[in-house]
């Protein structure tokens, strides 16, 4: 494994602050567009810009949490990193090897070391396959043809994830959601990978089961030294499991920092709003939320300049500076290991946050336009007269 040349190393972060850690995976300016075909001739009329220029490094043994709302491109990023989908442009370097230069056979060999755990424990297991075949399929694909070796490996994997060895002949419907997710994890680790993408791996689970699976994932990292790219929309899960956190918005990474730094000192206005939106389990806390107006814009037609500017509370406070809507902010390093893509990240302060939260109307607009003109009529008084 060769160290990346300093000039192209896009992100430092944990890799730089802990020089003893080797970089396992490098993502360089990764772009994935999905073409939109339209018209009678099915001509290419546009692109869904799912991932639009993301750069990241993952060190060995690290858990990098990737958080963002639906449609921000986090799942696409996870799949493109594994080359399950070819990127439109950009590079993925795994353990010193540029994936784009690999032949099909080499790609298959390297995939043995990269696995994925899917979100839906119901949809991701073939209902007509027994557990032995579900978990063992990857072994077959990797050329382990001796069935006794295969059975042994599958049984070992089942045991590792806390299931019984004799479950190999059972079918998915015989298991609960938590157990199915364990099967999904066993399928990923049977090939003894180095790197696992967890794509919303605990999102479909109840909270008591979710904590069992999170503990298991951390135990496995301890035991086998896995590196995880942990994709989730649940911020408290991300806070618990990750060493570093990357926040995505509309196909771009907007902030990247150590977990404690992200949660205590967020610098991108979007991260601030995201953190403010987490419901607090303590009923005594009546925090005034910083509620964003509107929805995430379409990734097929992202806003110009900074993609967040249409919903940005900071921009509003600063009197709508022009460069927000014209200039794409660079992903710059604010302090060691803390990167943020905002022209005015230095202006984020707790005073500004609380004043923005205080100004928010009781009913926040569902759209990015005209907030101010929404009145708040009493429910009782207008209404049609009852007959």
């Amino acid at each position: 494994m060769s160290a990346p040349p300093a000039s192209t190393a896009p992100v430092t972060g944990a890799a730089a602050s802990k020089p003893d850690r080797e970089v396992l995976l490098q993502i360089q300016d990764l772009v994935k567009y999905y073409p939109i075909m339209g018209g009678v001739l099915r001509r290419h009329v546009g692109d869904v810009k799912a991932v639009d220029g993301v750069s990241l490094d993952l060190s060995k043994g690290e858990v990098l949490g990737l958080v963002g709302e639906s449609g921000c491109g986090k799942t696409t990023l996870g799949r493109t990193v594994l080359y399950l989908q070819k990127p439109t442009s950009g590079k993925v370097v795994f353990d010193g090897r540029d994936m784009s230069t690999l032949s099909g056979r080499e790609l298959r060999r390297i995939r043995k070391r990269m696995q994925i755990i899917f979100q839906d424990p119901y949809g991701s297991l073939n209902p007509r396959m027994p557990v032995l075949d579900i978990i063992g399929e990857g072994l077959v694909a990797q050329g382990i043809s001796d069935s006794r070796v295969r059975i042994k490996k599958v049984e070992d994997a089942l045991e590792t994830v806390g299931l019984r060895r004799d479950y190999t002949r059972r079918y998915p419907h015989e298991f609960s959601g938590g157990q199915r997710q364990r099967i999904g994890i066993a399928r990923a680790l049977v090939l003894e990978p180095d790197f696992i993408v967890c794509d919303e791996a605990v999102s479909a689970l109840d909270v008591s089961i979710q904590s069992q699976i999170l503990n298991l994932l951390l135990d496995l990292r301890e035991a086998f030294g896995f590196t995880y790219l942990f994709i989730a929309h649940n911020l408290s899960v991300i806070e618990y499991i990750s060493d570093r956190v990357g926040v995505m918005y509309l196909g771009k990474l907007v902030e990247l920092a150590d977990t404690a730094e992200t949660f205590s000192n967020p610098r991108h206005p979007y991260t601030v709003a995201l953190l403010s939106a987490i419901p607090d389990p303590d009923p005594r806390v009546h925090k005034k939320r910083l509620v964003l107006k509107g929805d995430v814009p379409s990734p097929a037609a992202p806003p110009s300049g900074c993609r967040f500017h249409t919903r940005c509370w900071l921009r509003e406070q600063l009197g709508n500076p022009e460069n927000c809507s014209t200039e794409d902010p660079p992903f710059r390093e604010l302090s060691t290991g803390h990167r943020v893509a905002c022209h005015y990240a230095e202006q984020v302060s707790s005073e500004r946050v609380s004043s923005a939260a205080a100004k928010a109307p009781a009913v926040v607009s569902a759209d990015v336009g005209d907030v101010a003109e929404i009145p708040f009529p009493s429910l009782q008084q207008p209404g049609p007269p009852p007959v």
């Binding site: 609960s176 909270v207 929805d295 607009s365 336009g369 207008p382």
Partner: protein, 367 residues
């Protein structure tokens, strides 16, 4: 929240809007009977907000559908119970009268904003429909009310939006439409079944703030059904925790969340990963929910309970206030004074050992 103290068939006092008494809803399916809701009792006062919280399969949604009488019968059967709403037992109303209540006095916000709107009618028609139905006004007046409601829930350009179809709106906006629809008839009770589960966290924040503001404004009571304790903590005053078809703990949100008494509530709260120090393992509730076809005989949480002791396996604990504290109710033997616990003596006698063999086989050989 008061517990039902009145006898069967006696309506609750007028300040109680909804009182569910010993509701049992079973599903008869091919493999047997699932007691989805098995003896649930709670009440909501006028204008009060209550959260029903529990994990998947605990019976919280079936409870709400039983109140609305929206279950398919069969396979469902409301085996017993009373649902007093505004002085009437809903379970004894004829369907025609129930239709007057449903969508008018009690309305519902469903989880899935993508599928619970009709794709072939405009938003305005769908919101106005209930108003036209229940208030017997013209279609025009219904549409006006729809526009007004859309404005109320923060949708800009409501006149234009009322003429649009559901597919022209985002998920968060559709959920606002659902809320507009639920409030259009000035209901007395709004049942919100996982209203924010399908939404992103920033949109969830918008919708929760909206529900809170409109609930206060309209004075309607709210029954919020969710799996998320944090959502309950932020939104409602009273909370009831369900497990395997039963309410295991109920009280004010402060009591239930800050001073949980039932081991299941405690376990749930400690499983939430926020604020757990790095590197520390998360608390887990061991095992999984019981098989509904083979519910444990005693306390249903006993097989997973870290505190389980003698009476738990054989006897079902009643939902009652612990002696020191009357604001909270809990179904756990830990909080029942020792004298009132079923002791060894009370253990049901073991089935008599047969003294005489029923069938005797002797000297059978295989030919």
């Amino acid at each position: 929240m008061t517990d039902p103290v009145l006898g069967p068939g006696v309506p609750p006092p007028p300040d109680v809007l909804l009182e569910v008494r010993d509701l049992r809803t079973y599903f008869h399916v091919m493999d047997g009977t699932v007691p989805a809701v098995d003896g649930v009792s709670f009440s909501i006062k006028r204008g009060e907000t209550m959260g029903l919280v529990g994990e998947s399969g605990c019976g919280k949604s079936v409870t709400s559908l039983s109140i609305m009488r929206l279950l398919d019968i069969p396979p469902a059967e409301i085996v017993s119970g009373e649902i007093w709403f505004d002085g009437r037992d809903l379970l004894r109303l004829p369907e025609s009268e129930m239709r007057e209540v449903r969508g008018n006095d009690i309305t519902m916000i469903f989880q899935e904003p993508m599928t619970s709107l009709n794709p072939v009618f405009t938003i305005g028609d769908q919101i106005g429909e209930a108003v036209v139905q229940h208030r017997h006004v013209s279609k025009k007046a219904g549409l006006d009310r729809a526009v007004e409601m859309l404005r109320l829930v923060g949708i800009p350009g409501p006149e234009r939006r009322a003429r649009q179809y559901p597919h022209e709106m985002s998920g968060g906006m559709r959920q606002r439409v659902m809320i507009a629809m639920a409030l259009a008839c000035d209901p007395k009770l709004v049942v919100a079944d996982e209203p924010t589960t399908a939404l992103d966290v920033t949109i969830q924040a918008q919708i929760l703030e909206l529900i809170k503001a409109l609930q206060q404004e309209s004075g309607a009571a709210l029954l919020l059904i969710t799996h998320d304790l944090a959502v309950v903590a932020e939104t409602v005053q009273q909370a009831a925790v369900m497990y395997a078809g039963k309410i295991v703990e109920t009280g004010s949100v402060e009591d239930v969340i800050l001073r949980p008494k039932h081991p299941y509530t405690e376990g749930l709260l400690r499983s939430i990963p926020s604020h757990v120090p790095k590197g520390q393992r998360l608390n887990v509730i061991k095992g999984t929910v019981p098989n509904p076809f083979r519910m444990p005989t005693g306390c249903r949480f006993e097989p997973r309970c870290p505190y389980a002791f003698e009476p738990c396996h054989d006897f079902e604990p009643p939902l009652a206030a612990p002696p020191a504290d009357h604001s909270q109710q809990v179904a756990c033997w830990l909080h029942v004074p020792e004298a009132q616990r079923p002791g060894r003596a009370a253990v049901a006698p073991a089935p008599p050992v047969p003294t005489e063999a029923f069938v005797q086989v002797e000297s059978v050989t295989r030919q």
